[in-house]
Structures are given as structure tokens and as C-alpha cells.
Amino acid sequence: MSASHNVSDSSVHTAMIDARGLVKKYDDFTAVDGIDFTVTRGESFGLLGPNGAGKSTTMRMIACTSQRTAGTLEILGRDTDHHGPWIRAHLGVVPQQDNLDRELTVRENLYIYGRYFGLPRSYINDKIDELLDFAQLEDKRDAKVDSLSGGMKRRLTIARALINEPEILMLDEPTTGLDPQARHVLWDRLFRLKERGVTLIITTHYMDEAEQLCDRLVVMDKGKFMAEGSPAGLIAQYSSKEVVEVRFGSDRNQEIADQIADLGDRVEVLPDRILLYTSEGEAALERIIDRGLRPMTSLVRRSSLEDVFLRLTGRSLVD
């Protein structure tokens, strides 16, 4: 083993993850189709895309639980095909589906997971207190996992992924299926980790989540990267400052869109509404009304990543 591969040397790599021409095929289906990206230490990197875009497959390849078909993939300077267990020893993984042991207690779930990393019992017992505090589950220490709410299970899964103090924490759709309050609690916890310098890799199909948590993100669709940048940068590049949403009824939207297209930079017709992209939303809405058009509802808002995705793919993120 070369000196650069010593365990303690992993901290010198600035590129935590480096992927070149990464491909994953299942028989005839190409799930990931030649993507390139680099993630540096302390960065919070997001993969944004609809279901089936290839986000989870990319995550599984990074977590060394799925072998790539082509390309190169290095985590902490090591090839994922040859150093899977070594790399995984340095990762924290929060899967899309919780895979906690429901027959064990909250504490026991953390404990056994720590043992899988070969951590000493005394370390684990101390760490459990800290993680329960972090996940706000101190009261549930001896409760069976079965009795926890969805948000609590998710927090426990995240706490569990931190037991080895990972260099990289991977979160596959961390808040899907949670209520708004539970999502905000989770975002707060993840933000603290980010402050601590943990590298975060997050997949999501929620724009607000990506905007809250990611320094940089890629928009992914059909196994390919459509665009890459910071949330604000992507919005500036692919959308206008503001958006006017007007509804005229599903049978009239297309006809009205043609009449107002000249009032903005771009117009998109969705089944239930028209989106008019413009730098001055209020002014554009006034001019729509001045033309004698009476929308059933209207809304002026700031552009979001949803608009970026729509622009790039012609489709909505959440079906």
C-alpha cells in the first residue's frame, strides 16, 4: 500500500469524490449515462431530479454497493471497485428507505451499527448520548423503533450514519414523506453538520430542500447532468428573476398563453396554469389585466429551481 493511501492521509485529499464518465447499465437500461463531477471537502453537493433520474444509482455507486459499468470513480483518492469496504468505513449513509431494526430499541440500533464499524463499546456508549441529543431522541432511548414516528425514524437513521464520524454523509431523499415541521427539524440538524465541515451529498426532488442545504447542485434527468451550479447561479442562468402564474382554466390556457407571450422573456403552459417568466412580475401582471384578460387566480413569485428544471427538461420535477 502506498503512503498516500494511509488511513490518516485521507484528509489531505481535497477531492472527496471524483467521477469521470461514470456509467451504470442494467441489461439494456442505462440508469447513469456518463456523468462527471468532483466534490471537495466540506462541500454540500446536491443531486436534483425526478424519480428515475439516476440519483439513487449514483449514490449507490458512491457508497460502493453497486459496481459501475464504465468510467472512473474515486472516493477519498481510492477506486470504488477495489476499496469498497475501506471507503465505506469513512462514509455515513442515509438510505431512501429506513432500514432500522424494528425489534431493537433506539439505543440498540445505534449500538449495533457502531459495532459494524468495529468501534470499541466504551466509545459507542458515549457517542450514543451525543447522537441521541443531536437527534432529539433522548426520551426515546429505550423505546422500540416500531413505536417511533416517521420523522423520528429518519432522525435516528441520520444519527446512526454519524456514529463513525464520517468524512462524507450521503442522504438519499432525506425528507421524502415527512411533514413540514419534521422536515425543518431535519434541515436544522443537517445544517449543523455542514457547519462542522462534514461533506454532504444529498439527493432530492424538493427544490426548497436543495436551496436550503446545497452549496452546489446538479440537475439530473434520464441518467445525465442537465446543468450544474449553485442554486442562485442556476436560477440566474436558466430562469428570470420573477414568475407570474396565472390560471384561466385548463381549456383556455394555451390560447391565452399566445396572447401574453410578448409580456415576458418566456412562457410555459402547464396543464393547470401558465408561467410567464419576467424580471418585473407585478408590472407584467398589470399588463395582462390591462389587456382585458381576467385570470381565475394569479401569483407573482421569485423563480425557483423548479423553473430551472422545467426550462431544462420541459417537465415538472414532482409529478
Partner: protein, 287 residues
């Protein structure tokens, strides 16, 4: 390290990092034992049922088959069975082998369903440095421990009721354990292969365990069956274990080559099916 709550928030406490905390080489060495530690912890939640089943099963079998069928067989005089032994003596090694096989079968099939399908806990293990091969080894270590426990209780009950007549009877316990683990390896491969089939769990009972129980010389000598169905016993690990057990518990006269065949068959079946099952598990979990 003392367990003292410093009151520090997680954000301010020193973060050592996985590079300092985790020793991948240690996990490569001991991963299978960590998996076994988890399985034993999970099993400990069911210890009452395991003890009750371990004790209840032999008592029920002895009371029904041993007393009921035994009374009929013994009524035909000392030569009712080919070896001229009492029915209990004939039955005891078969029940011991059956118990060991059933115990390990449970200890492989259900954990695999739980780990790969029901709660997917094996995928949680796999997201640490543990490998699928270590998961298979860990499940098997636990199966051995469970088998020692089940066969141990069974052996004691049989010994108390006078089921053994040979001084070698103690060796029937390790023989039953080897049979149990060998069968568990076969079940590992079968479970991984058919785990996505809705019919798998019920089919195992109907098409594997029950026929094996019926055609392995458990309740009557295999030699009394027509040749056309006797092969079912020859391929059955239970027959090999039972016949070997009879040699040990009452000194059944069996040629030396056959004793070696019994041992070799059980060891080979276990080694080959474990290698296949473990490879299939890796393929399934890393596809």
C-alpha cells in the same frame, strides 16, 4: 473513557473523524463476528420462545411418537427393528438430528428474509465496511450457536429418558450440529435464490422439510423402503445424520466406508452450498 455528560452541544464537541476512529483492517478480520453479535442480540428478544420450542419439541415427540408408535413396535418383540433395539433407542438419534436441522433452518431462513426483504437490515450492514460474505458468515456463526443450544437441550432430554445405550452417545451431539449447519448452508443458498418468490417460505416446509422428515429413516429403517424411493434418503442430509447418530448412540453396525460417506457428505454439502450461497448473496447485494 468515562461516561460523563459534559453538556457540550454536538457542534462544539471534538469531532475526531472516521479516519482516526475506524480501523478497516479490524473490520476485515472480525466483520463476521460483528454480524453474529447483532444476530444474537436480535435472538435474545425471542429467548423465551426459543427455550420453550427447544424443550417442548422433544417432549412432545417423545410423548406422542415415542410412547404411541413405540408401544406398537415394542409389542412385536425384541426383533421388531433390524438392530433389535427398543423403539426409543432407534428414534432418539433421528429426533436429535431433526431438531438440529430445524433449529438452524430457522436461524438462516428468517434472518435472510428479515435482512434482505422485510426490513432490509443487511443493507444497513452493507453501508458500513461489512461485506455480504461477512454477513453470510455471521449468520452461519449464529446458526452454529443456535444449533449447539438446540441439540444440547435435545440431547439432555433424550439422555434423561434413557434414549442412548452407547458410551459414544455424547458424539451424537456434534454430529447433529454438523448436520444442522450443513443443512443451514443449503438453506442459505436456496433462500437467496428464491427470496423474491411469494411461495418460498411455505414451499420450504411442504417440498423440502416434510419430505425429508418422511424419507430419511426417521421413524422406520430406510432399508424397509422400496429401492425406488430409497434414493430420497441417500440425498437427504437428515438420513446421513440419523444413520451416523445411530452408530454413535446404540452402536448400529454400519460399514466403515458408509460412516466416512456420512461425514464426507455432510461436510461437502455444507462447504459447497455455503460457497454458492455466499457468492449469490454478494451478487444480489452489489448488483
Amino acid at each position: 473513557m468515562a461516561t460523563v455528560d459534559t453538556g457540550a452541544t454536538p457542534a462544539t464537541r471534538a469531532w475526531q473523524g472516521a479516519s482516526r476512529l475506524v480501523q478497516p483492517a479490524r473490520i476485515a478480520r472480525s466483520g463476521a463476528w460483528y454480524v453474529a453479535e447483532y444476530r444474537l442480540r436480535n435472538l435474545s428478544k425471542w429467548w423465551g420462545a426459543i427455550v420453550a420450542f427447544g424443550l417442548g419439541n422433544p417432549v412432545l415427540y417423545l410423548a406422542s411418537i415415542g410412547l404411541g408408535v413405540g408401544a406398537l413396535v415394542n409389542r412385536n418383540g425384541p426383533n421388531a427393528l433390524p438392530d433389535g433395539v427398543a423403539y426409543l433407542t432407534f428414534l432418539a438419534p433421528a429426533l436429535l438430528a431433526t431438531a438440529a436441522i430445524q433449529g438452524t433452518q430457522d436461524e438462516v431462513t428468517f434472518p435472510l428474509m428479515h435482512g434482505l426483504k422485510w426490513e432490509r437490515v443487511f443493507y444497513a450492514m452493507q453501508s458500513t465496511a461489512i461485506t455480504p460474505t461477512q454477513i453470510a458468515q455471521g449468520v452461519m456463526i449464529t446458526a452454529v450457536i443456535r444449533s449447539v443450544f438446540t441439540a444440547g437441550i435435545y440431547w439432555l432430554v433424550l439422555w434423561v429418558v434413557g434414549g442412548f445405550t452407547s458410551a459414544n452417545a455424547i458424539l451424537a451431539m456434534p454430529a447433529a450440529i454438523v448436520a444442522g449447519v450443513s443443512f443451514a448452508c443449503l438453506m442459505l443458498a436456496l433462500t437467496v435464490r428464491f427470496i423474491d418468490s411469494q411461495m418460498f417460505l411455505s414451499s420450504i416446509g411442504r417440498f423440502v422439510l416434510t419430505p425429508m422428515f418422511m424419507f430419511s429413516g426417521t421413524f422406520f429403517p430406510l432399508e424397509s423402503m422400496p429401492l425406488a424411493v430409497r434414493w430420497l434418503g441417500w440425498i437427504s442430509p437428515l438420513w446421513h445424520a440419523t444413520d451416523l447418530g445411530r452408530v454413535l448412540t446404540y452402536g448400529k453396525a454400519v460399514p466403515g466406508w458408509l460412516v466416512l460417506t456420512h461425514i464426507a457428505y455432510l461436510l461437502l454439502l455444507g462447504a459447497v452450498t455455503f460457497a454458492i450461497g455466499s457468492r449469490m448473496l454478494t451478487k444480489k447485494m452489489t448488483g
